[in-house]
């Protein structure tokens, strides 16, 4: 449980190790405040959608464990529906987050703009669900993985936002201003995050 959380957040960070979810990561990281908002939204969406998708995937799609198989009386393989169902769940969750943010923090809602509904097609989120299936996590593990990778995204986007706030005062060559330097920065942050790659949090204490 905890080791999957740590691994998803620090060691196999969605943004800085797999480079997933770059669009909103680069677009909303201009100030720390909006970055925190988007980061929290991503944590919420990942943390909720992964367990739901796990239930759908296990009890509706997989032929061996599907409830439908029992009803129909023969094994039904519905895994081809995986993408469309996952996206549908993610979209409805994002809708929920959007309504909540609009209600409780209209200022944040405006500053996030189009990038809030665009979380739906954020590859980090669909990627999270697909990783969960590929790695054959159980329910608790997928919950932990969801919050862990959401936290990793939050950390990355808040860190780059703080750096980009500082970079506003830098004399960056004109050709690199804006997205150019953000891409270079992401690469350098990726190098820094390689420091923890290779640690296995599930197996820290050595066995004799």
């Amino acid at each position: 449980m905890l080791d999957i959380f740590l691994k998803a957040a620090f060691i196999e960070n969605m943004v800085l190790a797999y480079f997933l979810g770059m669009c909103s990561y680069l677009a909303v990281s201009k100030t720390v405040k909006t970055a925190v908002g988007l980061g929290l939204a991503v944590i919420f969406v990942l943390g909720i959608t992964l367990p739901i998708n796990w239930v759908i995937s296990t009890y509706l799609l997989e032929p061996s464990t599907s409830v439908l198989s029992g009803i129909i009386g023969q094994e039904t393989d519905l895994t081809f529906l995986r993408f469309i169902l996952f996206i549908a769940v993610i979209a409805s969750m994002v809708q929920l987050v959007e309504m909540m943010i609009e209600k409780f923090s209209p200022a944040l809602y405006i500053s996030l703009g189009i990038f809030l509904p665009l979380i739906t097609v954020n590859c980090a989120i669909l990627g999270g669900s697909l990783f969960m299936v590929a790695r054959e996590y159980n329910f608790a593990e997928s919950l932990s993985f969801g919050f862990g990778s959401g936290f990793g995204f939050f950390l990355a986007i808040v860190a780059i936002a703080a750096i980009r706030e500082k970079l506003r005062y830098s004399d960056i060559p004109p050709a690199l201003r804006g997205l150019g330097i953000a891409f270079i920065l992401t690469g350098l942050m990726g190098i820094a995050f390689m420091s923890l790659m290779g640690i296995d949090p599930g197996n820290i204490i050595p066995q004799k």
């Binding site: 703080a162 970079l167 923890l196």
Partner: protein, 427 residues
């Protein structure tokens, strides 16, 4: 002195017609004399302690490490050959010559490449030369293995200076530490050259050695032991070390068998790890001299004692926790006694000269404590728990460089909200 000023005024090139020459001239002029520019508009306090003099103090603090590093390259070389291995100062001349011939090309290349790029960008962007690279150029040779191929060094410095610094707008604007970025480039691009057991002892003879004539007996003239069986130097070296000298580093030993394995090895004792007569990166082995440099930097207020202290505390606490996790069993890497962790590897060099870089560290005082503490803790975690890397400080510092602006941001925010509260309560 006056004639020198007059001479400089006379040869000053025209700024418009030859921007490159003028940049060059300006660089050397401010190196010799404090410039007498006056600020335009607004009142500013001016001090002779400008960026260039700050940099020079750091370079001065590194000099002891340079002297020791040079000597140690020679010492390790001869010890691995089985010559002059009774004492550190035995065969001093020969060791010094070998060390110099090994370190000079590294030193020259690192300055030429880095300052060349610096000159180019200064002239191109039309500002005076920023001396920021002087410190990086002095640090880079010290954190490289003595046998690093020069082309690799060149590539790494080009990467670090252009991508890490000039792209971000030059000196003072970089997010990651330049010297560490150069090293991390070599580390990930050519891992066999900078990790493992064989790279820490210099054994080849570079072009300078050919020029100075190994065969001609220069080394023998300096008190080198006579060679057995009348072999030539080259033959002797190659017959003794066909693949380079191999011997595990203290950290390599500890990763396999804990502190017990380090103590059991004939090469390493606590005292020689402390005094630094062991293989390693050029400048990081001798702990007392590094601490002397650190004391100099703290006393003149350039390096931050807050970062150093909290980094030490962070590393010590993490090491204690790890040791407690295995019940103090010293045959595990986790169980190495916390104090012994500091003699192995390059903790003190990273603490004194790398983590304290004022550009990439947190700027606020509270932030410095947090920043240092996390470097110490994460560095120890990488060293002990990450089987992929032999040592943690370089990567831990880069990791925290990324988060330093975030720490500053929240320290500032909490300060602002505290003051707001004070205003409200006063009303």
């Amino acid at each position: 002195m006056k004639s020198l000023i007059k001479f400089l005024e006379k040869i000053e090139p025209d700024k418009k017609n030859s921007p490159f020459l003028h940049t060059l001239f300006d660089g050397f002029h401010t190196f010799l004399f404090s410039p007498n520019h006056t600020t335009k508009g607004g009142v500013h306090i001016r001090d002779a302690m400008d960026l260039k003099r700050t940099m020079v103090m750091v370079v001065l603090a590194l000099q002891l490490c340079y002297v020791f590093g040079t000597l140690n390259i020679g010492h390790q070389h001869y010890v691995s050959l089985g010559l002059h291995n009774e004492g550190f100062l035995d065969g001093l001349g020969a060791k010094l010559l070998y060390g110099l011939l090994q370190i000079l090309p590294i030193f020259v290349v690192s300055h030429l490449v880095g300052l060349g790029i610096e000159f180019y960008f200064a002239a191109k962007k039309g500002h005076p030369i920023e001396e920021g690279f002087l410190v990086s150029a002095a640090l880079i040779p010290l954190i490289m293995p003595p046998d690093i191929p020069l082309w690799m060094l060149t590539l790494s410095i080009i990467f670090a200076v252009i991508i890490g610094k000039e792209a971000f707008g030059g000196t003072g604007m970089n997010v990651l530490n330049i010297a560490l970025l150069a090293r991390v480039f070599v580390f990930f691009a050519y891992p066999t050259e900078i990790s493992g057991d064989i790279c820490w002892v210099a054994y080849d003879y570079n072009i300078l050695h050919q020029l100075f004539g190994i065969e001609a007996g220069t080394l023998e003239a300096l008190g080198m032991a006579a060679l057995p069986e009348g072999l030539s130097w080259k033959d002797y070296v190659w017959s003794h070390m066909p693949d380079g000298w191999t011997g595990a580093t203290p950290l390599g030993l500890a990763a396999k068998g804990g502190w017990d394995a380090v103590l059991a090895s004939p090469q390493y004792t606590t005292s020689n790890m402390f005094w630094g007569t062991i293989p390693g990166s050029i400048g990081e082995t001798c702990k007392p001299l590094i601490l002397a440099g650190a004391a100099l930097l703290i006393s003149i207020g350039i390096a931050s004692w807050r970062v150093m202290l909290s980094m030490f505390v962070g590393a010590a606490l993490t090491a204690m926790l790890m040791s407690a996790a295995v019940g103090g069993d010293t045959s595990f890497f986790l169980g190495v006694p916390w104090i012994q962790h500091f003699w192995m590897g390059s903790f003190f060099f990273a603490m004194a000269f790398m983590a304290t870089d004022p550009v990439t560290a947190s700027a606020t005082n509270t932030g410095k404590f947090i920043y240092g503490f996390f470097i110490g803790s994460i560095g120890m975690i990488i060293r002990v728990l990450n089987p992929a890397y032999p040592e943690g400080w370089m990567l831990a510092i880069l990791f925290m460089n990324v988060f330093a602006p975030l720490i500053d941001h929240y320290v500032l925010q909490s300060n602002i909200s505290k003051r707001l509260k004070r205003i409200k309560s006063a009303q």
